[in-house]
């Protein structure tokens, strides 16, 4: 008896000890190591935040090193959150991450919505033109010309102030310089000097012209009310600057310049090697043979496959939402009180009459203003699901309406309630009409799911953008990605065709039956 008692007691004590260990270690982990979520756009984001050409799952760059150094000083764990350039500030305000660092210039317009840290880098705008172009030498030569830049940047404002310039907004720097090199679509590109250095300098078809334009300081952005974090980060940043750590990082990326030396009162001569920049140039100058490319594509496969799985996951969940919620709306439209029915119709019309992209933005960036916040994953499923629910509702309604009312009468006459009649008589018949368009919608949904890449979600299209902008290969990787989408949709396309065939054969049989 006593022996028997003894062991469980020991176990019990063990459990308590283990539990408290876990509890305290979690507690310790939380208090010692907070998490610093930083948002940035790694697509064609050199030299700030970009993908390592040797290992595209790794992100590197000036801003990466800076935020990691700051986080280390603060004893926090940095966590990178991908978002596209346009969405960086909205995402910050929606609370998807704590800071933004992505070569953001400290300018007045931005100060209104957010707050900046002290500057960690100082630079200027660089004008770049085609080698063949001898007309454009400075800012005032740009009048009447087609000039590309990034939206919401200081360069954009400078171009606006110059007046009479045809400003072309580009989402990604590479594309701007590529168009400039081909000489067809653009006459010049005005962008921050580091960007020009990383995307244009080594291109034999392009040249730098004119003096340094403007004076910009880069800062880390915070939500307006997050002053506590801003003060902490500033403190860390200033210590790092004093220690020379920031200068080392800037030099590593080959970005040390006289403006910086002057601002921080140090020597213009760099003290360390630009190892990062050199490595970048090496990867840039690599002439890739066809075999090299094939090898790269094989390397990409796991990344693309991961994106594809995410795409399929979101699509499936969204379809479940669409199918269930759609049926609900259809039944309200058909059988509920006229007021509710009108509401359901209004929902369907609004959803079908507005772009899915806008709906996703509203759900992900808009609703947080009203205090409703979703994880990107949830927002994607809800956005796609609610959107397709409107289509499914219309499919169901058309299907149910196609069943003659005499079927309902017959069911009533047999004593069935409305619900029983719907469930056993009307809906099973409507299914045959509804299944083909629903499967078709699912294929459309898989393709539309590429839009959720705008809400910081890493799915197939996001992966495509990352890889293509890292390797400057929009064609090969694009075809690979398209093939992935095609493969995901294939089983459902087959299913849809089978369903159609099945029902058409059935219908033929029925016709024959009637004739004989």
């Amino acid at each position: 008896m006593k022996k028997g008692d003894h062991t469980p007691m020991l176990n019990m004590r063990n459990i308590i000890v283990t539990l408290s260990c876990i509890f305290f270690s979690i507690h310790a982990f939380c208090s010692e190591k907070g998490i610093l979520r930083w948002g940035s756009d790694a697509n064609s984001g050199a030299p700030y935040v970009f993908r390592d050409a040797k290992d595209p799952s790794k992100i590197i760059g000036l801003d990466v090193d800076i935020i990691e150094a700051v986080a280390e000083k603060l004893n926090m764990k940095p966590v990178f959150i991908q978002n596209q350039w346009d969405g960086l500030i909205p995402g910050l305000n929606a609370g998807n991450y704590d800071v933004v660092i992505d070569g953001l210039e400290i300018i007045d317009e931005r100060e209104q919505a957010i707050r900046f840290s002290d500057p960690y880098y100082i630079t200027y705008e660089q004008l770049v033109v085609n080698k063949e172009n001898h007309e454009i030498n400075e800012l005032k030569d740009l009048k009447g010309k087609r000039v590309a830049t990034l939206p919401a940047s200081l360069a954009y404002k400078i171009l606006e102030d110059t007046g009479d310039v045809q400003i072309k907004k580009y989402g990604e720097e590479i594309n701007a310089y590529a168009d400039l090199a081909s000489g067809e679509r653009l006459d010049a590109v005005l962008l921050d000097a580091p960007i020009a250095q990383y995307y244009a300098k080594h291109n034999a078809k392009l040249k730098f012209v004119g003096p340094n334009i403007g004076y910009m300081k880069y800062g880390i952005a915070f939500k307006q009310d997050n002053n506590a974090l801003r003060i902490k980060v500033n403190k860390a940043l200033n210590i790092l600057i004093k220690e020379g750590k920031i200068q080392t990082i800037i030099e590593k990326w080959g970005l040390w310049n006289p403006k910086m030396a002057e601002a921080w009162g140090v020597s213009v001569e760099p003290k360390t090697e630009a190892v990062g920049y050199k490595e970048y140039l090496r990867s840039m100058n690599l002439e890739r043979t066809f075999i090299d490319k094939l090898k790269l594509y094989v390397d990409f496969f796991p990344l693309l496959a991961k994106g594809a799985v995410r795409t399929l996951e979101i699509s499936m969940l969204a379809m479940v939402v669409a199918v269930v919620f759609g049926l609900f709306i259809a039944l309200i439209r058909l059988y509920a009180h006229p007021v509710l029915s009108k509401l359901a119709l209004t929902y369907v019309e609004i959803i079908r009459g507005t772009p899915l992209l806008i709906q996703l933005y509203l759900i992900f960036y808009g609703l947080p203003n009203l205090g409703i916040k979703f994880e990107p994953y949830v927002a994607a499923v809800i956005g796609l699901g609610m959107n397709y629910a409107a289509s499914e509702a219309e499919n169901y309604r058309a299907g149910i309406s196609s069943i003659p009312h005499s079927q309902m009468d017959a069911a009533f006459a047999l004593g069935m309630s409305r619900l029983e009649a719907l469930r056993h008589i009307v809906i099973p018949q409507a299914m045959r009409v509804v299944i083909p368009p629903v499967t078709n919608d699912f294929i459309a949904l898989i393709k539309d799911s590429s839009l959720v890449s705008v809400i910081t979600l890493i799915e197939l299209t996001t992966v495509y953008g990352q890889l293509a902008s890292t390797y400057f290969d929009y064609l090969g990787i694009g075809l690979l990605t398209a093939a992935m989408y095609f493969l995901i949709g294939l089983p459902f396309a087959r299913l849809s065709r089978m369903a159609e065939k099945y029902y058409s054969v059935n219908n033929k049989k029925q016709l024959k039956g009637v004739q004989s």
Binding site: S406, Q407, D409, A410, A411, F412, A413, L414, G415, M416, S417, E420, H424, I425, P428, Q429, R432, K509, Q510, L511, G513, V514, S516
Partner: protein, 258 residues
């Protein structure tokens, strides 16, 4: 079975019904004794279908009353609770009163056997095996035992209508209403359907039949009711109606069928 003081199973008093502005039924009084076969005749559009649908609670009524098996249907549109009450009573009535439609209205996605077992299983929660054996017997009764696994579309009109009667019988109704059950059939298929109704009459089923089959009416009906423009113009035994109609309109109407 509940019958009224006058011995009627179905009792209609001053029933009025409008469709929009159109007065379709303008005060119908009718009594049907258990076990009787009543034939309802009258020109197209006089309100025969509407009357049958009212009897089964498929239509609401504007005034008057319908009492079947002690359950009374009355005007229901004034409030939601009355409407709910109406639905409940209508369902109670349908438990005892089956209906057969001109276009059969079989369920096309179900086999004949499933057509017949569906309602007993869903509504009465009948055991599936029991429902099956009952359905098999009913199929034998209407001569369709070889077609149990066929879909409605594989059958002739006459076979479909017999299946529809079997489907109604599966709910063990006390009465069956037929709305022109043979009008959609080829002439040589009419007989087989009428034969089923004749058999049911012999077994004591209460039946109301809207039909233009005057031979059948004369041979089988206990009562004939003649309607015109939403009113009953004459009512009587086949003898009275066919041999010595009192109303001029009846005489004129019957002349079309000679």
């Amino acid at each position: 079975m509940m019958i009224s003081a006058t011995g009627a199973y179905i009792s209609v008093k001053n029933l009025k019904k409008k469709h929009g502005d159109l007065a379709v039924l303008c005060g119908i009084d009718l009594e049907v004794t258990p076990g009787e076969l009543t034939v309802l005749i009258g020109p197209s559009g006089c309100g025969k279908s509407t009357l049958l649908r009212c009897l089964n609670g498929l239509e609401t009524l504007d005034s008057g009353s319908i009492v079947i098996n002690g359950v009374a249907l009355e005007r229901s549109e004034d409030s939601k609770s009355i409407m709910k009450d109406f639905d409940k009573k209508a369902r109670a009535i349908r438990e005892n009163v089956g209906m057969v439609f001109q276009s059969f209205n079989l369920f096309p996605h179900l086999t004949l056997l499933e057509n017949i077992t569906k309602a007993p299983v869903v509504v009465k929660k009948m055991n599936v095996d029991l429902a099956h054996s009952q359905a098999k017997e009913l199929l034998i009764k209407v001569g369709l035992e070889r077609h149990a696994d066929h879909y409605p579309c594989q059958l002739s009109g006459g076979q479909q209508q017999r299946a529809a009667i079997a489907r109604a019988l599966a709910m063990s109704p006390k009465a069956i209403l037929y709305d022109e059950p043979t009008s959609a059939l080829d002439p040589d298929l009419v007989h087989e359907v009428l034969q089923v109704m004749r058999t049911l009459d012999d077994e004591g089923m209460t039946q109301i039949v809207v039909t233009h089959e005057m031979r059948f009416a004369r041979d089988v009906a206990d009562h004939i009711v003649h309607m015109q423009e939403g009113r009953i113009v004459e009512m009587g035994t086949p003898e009275q109606i066919f041999s010595s109609p009192k109303d001029e309109r009846t005489r004129r109407f019957l002349r079309n069928f000679l």
